[in-house]
């Protein structure tokens, strides 16, 4: 199998189109930066196959993202497009690119810290506030308006904010 990097060099036009597909719940964030595009297969004039991996197995945005990929590639002139979602490569929050972390911040969400595979309560309880930058914050609940978010409160600027959860 070709690596993602090689694939990006081989088929820049496909990846460019995929970069333009945004997470419907976080509009500044591209699905490529989110890290859910695990590979692209393309045989000459044949079919483009895009392989995705879900952030959360119960994510309701996944079906929409699959459709957005198909629509965008059609728009870019690829007639036969297949999207396959599988757990072959398990997504974790370290797969979000640096650009992706910036996009999350831009959307007002605290981006997930990089982790070594272990996520403890301590990591979540001093999440830096995306509004004022203070670490004097507290986690209200590890669950939020979507599966990938937790809810926090900043004691410095007295604002409630959401964070994109670190996932191992």
């Amino acid at each position: 199998m070709v690596s993602t990097r090689e694939s990006k060099q081989l088929h820049p036009e496909i990846w460019e189109a995929l970069y333009a597909v945004k997470d419907p719940e976080i509009p500044p964030l591209s699905i490529v930066d989110l890290g859910i595009v695990t590979s692209v297969e393309f045989e000459g004039k044949g079919t483009v196959q895009v392989n995705l991996t879900p952030t959360f197995s119960g994510c309701p945005a996944l079906k929409i993202m699959e459709q957005l990929v198909v629509d965008k590639l059609h728009e870019s002139g690829f007639e036969h497009v297949q999207v396959k979602t599988s757990f072959e490569v398990a997504w974790n929050s370290n797969m979000i690119s640096e650009e992706g972390l910036k996009a999350l911040h831009q959307h007002g969400l605290a981006p997930p810290p990089r982790h070594e595979g272990y996520i403890e309560l301590d990591v979540l309880s001093d999440t830096p506030c995306p509004l004022c930058g203070s670490r004097n914050t507290t986690m209200q609940t590890p669950f939020g308006p979507t599966l990938c978010r937790s809810m926090h409160y900043c004691k410095n600027c007295s604002n409630a904010f959401e964070a994109f959860k670190p996932v191992s």
Binding site: S57, G58, P60, A90, T141, F143, V167
Partner: protein, 256 residues
């Protein structure tokens, strides 16, 4: 090793009971949507419901790839006696204390189950188990902190948590009811088995309960906990299935 027919049956049985537990408890959790004692708990139980239904779907999908029906068909077209869920997940949500203790006991077992299955020789299951590990972590974190908070809260909260534990603990032992293929699962390194899981689970819940000043009940009468894995269910399952499929049954061929 090459799987025989028996190993495939064993994998299917394991997948069915895991998926059915997730589906049923997922629906039970969703009954807290709009009714949680505080907004954050409403959201927590709703989110956990969504995770569990998503996990159930992934497991039914593997079953489908092994030749069983489509996930939606399997989830919504069977009667109670065709389900493999354990009794613990079928019981109505009751008061918040009961739902919380059930969530604590069940999700701890699931966390360890996923941990073990991450190394399963059956690769499709190992893949989803590794995925689910990251998700269940948040469920367990949630359960542990609330069990400790309320166990040590005041006299009323402590009393209610202990009573809920006394009620739920015997039922929880039904999670580990052995299926007909335990040996086949172990022999092919698919899964270490329910007995092993139960022992690990007991060790895992003890320190949390201790920190919460709660005691595992002695003299446990677990007679009512078993049978779920063989299609014998509580009186609560069929009405729940009827409710879950009420809209679907109006027009099973409808496009959504």
């Amino acid at each position: 090793m090459e799987y025989t027919e028996k190993h495939v049956l064993a994998v299917k049985e394991l997948l069915y009971k895991m998926a059915d537990d997730q589906l049923i408890l997922g629906h039970r959790n969703s009954e807290w949507t709009g009714l949680g004692p505080i907004l954050e708990e409403d959201i927590a139980f709703s989110s956990m419901a969504q995770d569990k239904i998503g996990q159930a779907h992934a497991l039914y999908q593997i079953l489908h790839e092994l030749g069983e029906g489509e996930p939606d068909t399997v989830a919504f077209m069977r009667n109670a006696e065709q389900f493999h869920s354990c009794h613990l997940v079928e019981i109505p949500i009751g008061e918040y204390d009961f739902s919380l203790i059930r969530h604590f006991l069940f999700d701890k077992a699931e966390q360890i189950r996923f941990e073990l299955l991450g190394n399963s020789s059956f690769e499709p299951l190992a893949q989803v188990a590794r995925k689910f590990r990251g998700e269940i972590k948040y469920h367990v974190m949630h359960a542990d902190s609330w069990v400790k908070l309320l166990g040590k809260g005041n006299e009323e909260s402590h009393g209610r948590m202990q009573e809920a534990l006394n009620q739920a603990f015997p039922m929880a032992l039904g999670i580990f009811e052995e299926g007909p293929y335990e040996e086949a699962l172990q022999e092919a390194a698919i899964f270490e088995g329910e007995k092993h899981l139960r022992a690990l689970w007991l060790e895992a819940i003890k320190p949390v309960l201790q920190a919460a000043h709660l005691a595992i009940p002695g003299d446990v009468d677990d007679a009512g906990a078993f049978g779920g894995r063989y299609g014998k269910h509580t009186e609560y399952l069929q009405p729940l299935l009827d409710e879950m499929t009420e809209v679907f049954r109006i027009d099973p061929a409808a496009e959504w």
